[in-house]
């Protein structure tokens, strides 16, 4: 007897086996391009300009790679927790099919989160290895960063899935990507330390799970001390995940059980 949420996770995995090819470009090629353009192109300039002294890791590529890992986890999680929810609830109504079986709305929600976790572990692992091949991360320490990166992704996946379950159409999702995910991708300390931001914005960055995620992932990958105690970063990410997990269970039930 397999718990219903795990069966839901298995079904996601089966669906992914058919569609992973179309996901490769967004989840994988994009960051590699970023790494090439920013890390190797821009990085050369940064390193020449004497910036690296101010950067954890000593050179720009080493600074950027773990940040990109965490930010990519966030982006992947946001994608997995949004449009597929819309498809399950409205477009294909596959969630309604599942609900006719012993599976409950809560199982669907938690199965989605379980699957997203597995997918983030896989994505960040592959990404870490690719970055190591580019010399941007050192192994085996770099592999440890998979865990904080995945946690970062999950701190987004849970609340985003809850948010998606309350939407009637996907406009709300496009806006979310445009006005939340993209800015966070750029301004959470991924490409430069948030100390460079205007002073009044800096505290806002502390509120975002992505800054905590980037800090934690970078410190783990480089073996340096994070901005705040690691336990605080972890606790903040876990808080988002926990609140999101409760919210997504309720959101799915409210939406699907009528």
């Amino acid at each position: 007897m397999v718990a219903p949420a795990l069966r839901v996770m298995e079904v996601h995995a089966r669906g992914y086996r058919r569609t992973w090819r179309s996901n490769v470009v967004t989840t994988f090629l994009n960051p590699v391009l970023f790494l090439l353009a920013m890390g190797m192109g821009l990085g050369t300039l940064v390193d020449r300009g004497g910036g690296p002294a101010a950067l954890a890791g000593g050179d720009y590529l080493a600074f950027l790679a773990p940040g990109l890992l965490a930010a990519t986890a966030m982006q992947t999680a946001a994608g997995d927790a949004s449009f597929p929810v819309m498809a399950g609830m409205k477009w294909m109504k596959t969630y309604h099919a599942a609900l006719a079986t012993p599976v409950s709305a809560r199982d669907l929600a938690h199965g989605l989160l379980a699957w997203t976790t597995v997918r983030l572990l896989m994505t960040t692992a592959v990404f870490t290895i690719v970055m190591a091949i580019f010399g941007a991360l050192s192994l085996p320490r770099g592999l440890l960063a998979i865990l904080p990166a995945t946690l970062t992704g999950m701190a987004f996946a849970a609340p985003i899935a809850a948010y998606a379950s309350g939407l009637e159409n996907d406009y709300g999702l496009s806006s979310m990507f445009r006005f939340v995910i993209v800015p966070l991708f750029l301004f959470s300390g991924t490409f430069f330390p948030i100390g460079q931001l205007p002073d009044w914005i800096e505290p806002l960055a502390y509120l975002t799970p992505s800054w905590h995620g980037v800090e934690l992932t970078r410190a783990t990958a480089l073996g340096t001390a994070p901005a705040w105690p690691a336990a605080v970063h972890v606790a903040y990410l876990v808080l988002w995940l926990a609140v999101g997990t409760v919210a997504v269970g309720r959101g799915f039930s409210r939406r699907l059980v009528r």
Partner: protein
């Protein structure tokens, strides 16, 4: 087991055996809207039970409550002897459901759809694979086994949905408009398959807009209108109770119909003018047809036929009159 040829229990909803479904004063509200307004019915094991009714009557809402996916607002409901509010998952494990709208994963193949659905029931892969062979043969989709669902025709998707609903070998099958959108051949195939399931002892609950389907499939049915049950019985009982044995169908040229109807007055128990024809309910349609001629009327066509459920439906819901 109830004998399908024996008359149904008729008035009252008492069934001798423990009912598969038992509903008393069942209510479903969506905000201010009352979709189901205190309905009573019981379905016996092995029975084929039908819901008829116009659009919006509350058939699907009732089916979804029975399927333990939509919470009951008020009233008493037991399915397979259990309360959907507290044991929904146990009930659903023993049910098969064909929803009104297809809910297939169109990105997956035919067999993958059966596989994932079977996994939701926690069936072992080997069992699912075995049943997939049988079920695809049963609905004649074996040759599409590895096709993606997306490009399948509407009728094929419907048949796949039916196959999918059987993956857990349900005791009770809920079919919400199973043959809507199917061509006549596919409909007959589905009817035949449902009949075979019934022979195996599966209890069927069907909603439909097709009167011939209801007559073919259902031992007993209820007519719903505006959230309530307005009639109940076997097709034969309903015809006997609500319309005459025979019907005379008369067509007049459109501008003459109104005057003709006036002159049909007193011809039979009931004369029902529809937009395109006039129905005369009588126990002796040949006699009535003769009298039409005696009264000097010249219909463009005269048809004598037996009364059907369609006439019952029309009588009870007045539906085609407003259309």
């Amino acid at each position: 087991m109830s004998d399908p040829l024996a008359p149904g229990p008729g008035a009252g909803h008492l069934v001798a055996e423990p009912a598969v479904i038992e509903a008393r004063g069942l209510v479903k509200r969506f905000g201010d809207l009352t979709a189901v307004d205190g309905v009573d019915f019981a379905v016996a094991p092995g029975e084929a039970f039908g819901f008829l009714g116009p659009n919006g009557a509350g058939k699907s809402s009732t089916m979804r409550m029975i399927g333990a996916v939509s919470p009951v607002t008020a009233g008493h409901l037991r399915v397979l002897g259990r309360d959907p509010a507290t044991e929904g998952d146990v009930i659903r494990a023993r049910l098969g459901v064909v929803p009104q709208e297809d809910t297939l994963d169109t990105e997956l193949t035919v067999e993958e759809n059966l596989l994932i659905y079977g996994r939701y029931f926690d069936l072992p892969r080997a069992v699912i694979r075995e049943r997939t062979d049988e079920l695809l043969a049963f609905v004649q989709l074996t040759d599409r086994r590895r096709s993606r669902v997306e490009p399948l025709s509407g009728g094929m998707k419907r048949r796949l949905t039916i196959a999918r609903s059987l993956i857990n070998q349900p005791e009770l099958l809920l079919l919400d408009e199973p043959t809507t959108g199917l061509d006549p051949q596919a409909r007959h195939l589905v009817w035949d398959r449902l009949y075979r399931l019934k022979q195996r002892g599966v209890t069927l609950v069907v909603t439909t807009h097709y009167m011939d389907e209801a007559e073919q499939l259902c031992d007993r049915l209820v007519v719903m209108d505006q959230a309530r049950i307005v009639a109940e019985g076997s097709p034969r009982e309903l015809i006997a109770a609500h319309v005459s044995r025979e019907v005379l169908e008369l067509r007049f040229s459109p501008d003459e119909q109104q005057e003709a109807v006036a002159r049909l007055d007193g011809l039979a128990k009931r004369v029902e003018p529809l937009p395109d024809r006039v129905l005369v309910y009588t126990d002796d349609a040949d006699r009535a047809a003769a009298e039409v001629t005696e009264r000097g009327l010249l219909p463009t066509s005269v048809v004598v036929r037996r009364a059907t459920l369609e006439d019952v439906f029309l009588r009870l819901t007045g539906r085609s009159l407003v259309e």
